[in-house]
Symmetry: C2
Subunit: 270 residues, 2 copies
Amino acid sequence: MPGCQEAVAQRLSRRGLFKGAAGAAALAAFSAAPVGGAFAAPVSFTRVVDLTHVLDPAFPTFFGKPQLEVRKLFTFDKDGFNLNEWVVNEHTGTHLDTPFHFSKDGPSADALAIENLVVPLVVIDVSAKAGGNPDYQVTAADIVAYEAVNGAVPPGAAVALYSGWEKHLGTDMFRNADAAGTMHFPGFHPDVSAVLAEKGVSGVVVDTLSLDHGASKDFGFHYKWLGSGRWGVEAAANLGTLPPKGATLVVGGPKIKGASGGPSRVLALV
Amino acid sequence: MPGCQEAVAQRLSRRGLFKGAAGAAALAAFSAAPVGGAFAAPVSFTRVVDLTHVLDPAFPTFFGKPQLEVRKLFTFDKDGFNLNEWVVNEHTGTHLDTPFHFSKDGPSADALAIENLVVPLVVIDVSAKAGGNPDYQVTAADIVAYEAVNGAVPPGAAVALYSGWEKHLGTDMFRNADAAGTMHFPGFHPDVSAVLAEKGVSGVVVDTLSLDHGASKDFGFHYKWLGSGRWGVEAAANLGTLPPKGATLVVGGPKIKGASGGPSRVLALV
């Protein structure tokens, strides 16, 4: 389908939503949309990749303690059907960080427009650097290097950091806490927030437990990025299976009123 | 993009996943897929429609009592960031019903293959009938009437029942319980389960609180449909804005181990 291939390239401009959008102008798109938005050119895909980890009470957490309890309220053997309730921290498993997480009154999960959660996906591979330096922080130079090979990051896109950290899941290396309790895993440098915002990027995705690197003492990227009205996804799966450009991210975030984020179903349409 | 229009039509055959799939044979596709599946022909869309209601503790429930509590664990003013935990019943708001909900050992939310949650969407409008009869049950005749106008329900599709019940949200009419507590809203007749299964349908979607009609005393459709390894979505929004065919449903269900279902982000790509 050559026509669709071209459409994939064309939609990267997202003219309908993001014409001229850059920096703060892009924020206008973050108002709540009750139904949804239109793309200027067709988006096309032939496969779906699940970027979501299975979540159970043992899934590692930023705070280091379990953040999910599954309580059986009804069971098939006793009641004829199965039904549980969850006690769950909003920032558990593969999950959404909303602007409200690190701002006084930014949009919460119910207020993010759906057209900002279905967006072109850019994947920046820093796994080689992060493999040699667990404290690695993505900088503006990494964005420049990406664009030199792949072309400009399209306005409205999500930018995913593929650090390769997923391979440590199930071991202490995923949190990689030292004797003092400081964690060591890669993340976004706070200074790159303004660089991505200037390009009109909607959100960022990491395969670790935090948008900031584990050793951050001040949540510098969180405050700048989420505080500017943008979103993040943490603990994504399977980023290493994706092309550097051309996929469409679907962030199936919770639509719970006032939520600062929450476990999400995150997909890539490729 | 005429090529993409054709692709939309072609993908309805879903040859890659569902060639010859009918009845029980389609169940083979319900095994867990860790990464994702491929479509035989490109799927194309130009807009996204959010089929998810905003969920708050006042959202109506099947059991009639609140099923969501949002507990503030950290607040921006006091702690520098906002973070809540939820106590939430799996069957609250716009949510997924898995086979495990009404079977002893069917697939739970973490075990549904992602390619069965991104599928062609058929919308059957029975709002006129349901408007005059709150106890209306969709029958095989409604499927026949749909296909006479729109062509065959494609294998692998989701079939949505648009009853128009959404307009009652925010009033007692949404549950429409009588003096004895019996609810009165439309749903799928139990006999239609076999009809849809024979066509290889993956899941069903309703805009009410139950796959069965409200007055059901035996969860007849639930047992047959979910018990056969298929899924449902309840309390969907905005079905009335969709075309009868041509859209793609994305069920952003929770990937929580052992979940019988859960609040989900449900979208249509049109």
